[in-house]
């Protein structure tokens, strides 16, 4: 009897019709698409986007050239050269991040003892020719200078959870 019922059901295409009813219903459902350039999804303050180098309030760059980020970077995307300055502190002469290699894991940010290298919320950037995505120290500092207010606010918000 069960078997007969099964055959009748499969010849009536019952399950197929049920599936079609479902998709038919969803056809009139509101679409959940975010129309990207016009609309944007909210971001976390832990968002890991484009890198930036920060400065102290007095304009001195934070990075002390400890190379912890270079050591921790799993993609080997960071390249640092340092020298001792006249005032006895150690600073970088080169600080390059190859964004093509970078996997945006955020380890550099975690490793940094002075919060110098950070990842910002910026994710809509591009390079037009080869090498455009090889960010040097000057470019990173420029990003940091431009977005310092946002970066500082994100760090402050995040500190409550640490």
């Amino acid at each position: 009897m069960n078997k007969l019922f099964y055959y009748v059901k499969s010849f009536m295409l019952w399950e197929l019709l049920k599936g079609m009813a479902l998709t038919g219903r969803y056809m009139f459902a509101r679409s959940i698409t975010v129309h990207f350039p016009e609309e944007k999804t909210p971001q976390s303050f832990r968002f890991r986007g484009l890198h930036a180098q920060r400065r102290y309030a007095n304009g001195e760059e934070r990075c002390i050239g400890c190379k912890l980020c270079e050591a921790v970077c799993p993609a080997l995307a960071i390249h640092i050269e340092t020298e001792e300055r006249d005032d006895g502190t150690r600073r970088t002469t080169r600080y390059d991040i190859d964004l093509v290699k970078c996997i945006f894991c955020g380890f550099c940010e975690e490793a940094c003892p002075v919060d110098a290298i950070v990842e910002t919320r910026i994710f809509e950037y591009h390079g037009e020719k080869r090498g455009d995505l090889y960010y040097t120290k000057e470019m990173l500092l420029a990003v940091g200078d431009k977005y310092e207010a946002q970066i500082a606010k994100d760090r402050a918000d995040d500190s409550a959870y640490r």
């Binding site: 079609m20 479902l22 969803y26 009139f28």
Partner: protein, 370 residues
């Protein structure tokens, strides 16, 4: 129609007093010219239909998947198919170096040409047909089955394992599903007692409106024909020939640019053809579904038959897209099992049932002509 066109040209050329001269040149070739005009009148809307069917497909699939679909090119993305067409035209034609160049070039044509040729016998309204031949149904069957050669040749000539596997699958599938399709049409043939497509539709003209159409007595055959039609055109859920997740794109994996576009055109022209044929055989073609239903019937009879025909075709084509949005792809052995072990025996039995039924007084579908 033909007379009016000739009259118009006669009036136009008589403005210059040249009609006799012009007609003496044109008259011998006139039947050819007129046929060409009719062919263009069928093929041009068909090509536009194919273009916008791809748009409809993307939009409807998107809506069923709670997305938006193409909406960047023109209002609501309406120029998207044109942008796609231009892109395909300007793309580089890549010919695999170890391929058979001649067969590689000719196979898209073999796929597309029969898909277009079959339209020559499809009536769009009463008498609105390019070639009203008596063996129209046979012509359709033979034309739609030529397409499979294009698929096989494409897969063979590409000299690529994925293309070859896709072609093998496609060939086996199309040959298997041709049988239930043919048997379903035998039932229509029995009911209509004619192979002329215009006669088949006119045989469905009764005072019962849509209940007089053959999908009522032949309902299982309607379903079978439609399933076989979906399988014939290699559409989801029977698209193992393309099987994106297994064999990339199947038989046309090595094609680029216009070669690929021709396969695409052929596939979609075939889909629209199946939509048109299902309409003609089972859904009363250009007939008014409310004919003979009192006042509604009288008013809806004023709608031209072409509108009904196209409306029914849109409905069938929408079902194609609905299937694609709903059903996962059949596994290859399941597909073969459905074709050979379920559809073919089922249709065979139903042919006998219909033939027997027609001998009894309970068959009322051919008696109430009107």
């Amino acid at each position: 129609m033909e007379a009016q066109v000739i009259q118009f040209f006669q009036w136009f050329w008589n403005l210059f007093g040249l009609w006799d001269l012009v007609w003496s040149f044109v008259a011998p070739a006139w039947p050819l010219i007129w046929t060409l005009v009719k062919i263009i009148a069928i093929v041009a809307p068909l090509m536009i239909g194919v273009a916008y069917f791809t748009y409809a497909e993307r939009k409807i699939l998107a809506y069923m998947q709670v997305r938006v679909g193409p909406n960047r090119v023109g209002y609501y993305g309406l120029l998207q198919p044109i942008a796609d067409g231009i892109k395909l035209m300007f793309k580089e034609l890549i010919v695999p170096i170890r391929s058979n160049k001649f067969l590689f070039a000719i196979s898209p044509v073999i796929v597309l040409a029969p898909a277009l040729a079959a339209w020559s016998v499809v009536p769009f309204s009463n008498g609105m047909v390019l070639a009203n031949i008596n063996a129209g149904l046979l012509f359709i069957l033979s034309m739609t089955s030529i397409g499979v050669y294009g698929v096989i040749i494409a897969g063979w000539a590409s000299n690529s394992k994925y293309a070859f596997l896709g072609a093998m699958r496609s060939a086996a599938q199309m040959v298997s599903y041709e049988l239930p399709m043919g048997f379903a049409l035998v039932c229509v043939l029995l009911a209509a007692q004619s192979m002329n497509l215009t006669d088949i539709v006119n045989g469905q003209q009764t005072n019962a409106g849509l209940f007089g159409w053959y999908f009522v007595p032949l309902f299982p055959m309607f379903i079978v024909y439609f399933i076989a039609g979906v399988a014939e055109t290699n559409r989801a859920p029977f698209d193992v020939a393309e099987g994106e997740s297994e064999i990339v794109a199947g038989f046309h994996v090595e094609y680029s640019g216009m070669g690929f576009a021709l396969f695409f055109l052929g596939e979609y022209a075939n889909m629209i053809l199946i939509g048109g044929l299902t309409t003609l055989f089972f859904l009363g073609g250009w007939l008014n579904p409310f004919h003979g239903w009192g006042v509604i019937g009288v008013y809806t009879d004023m709608v031209p038959g072409l509108i009904w025909m196209l409306g029914k075709m849109f409905f069938i084509l929408f079902m194609f897209l609905w299937f694609r949005a709903t059903f996962p792809r059949y596994r290859y052995d399941q597909l073969m099992r459905l074709g050979w072990k379920i559809l073919i025996p089922f249709t065979l039995i139903w042919v006998v049932v219909v033939a027997a039924w027609m001998q009894t007084p309970y068959w009322v579908w051919s008696s109430v002509q009107g």
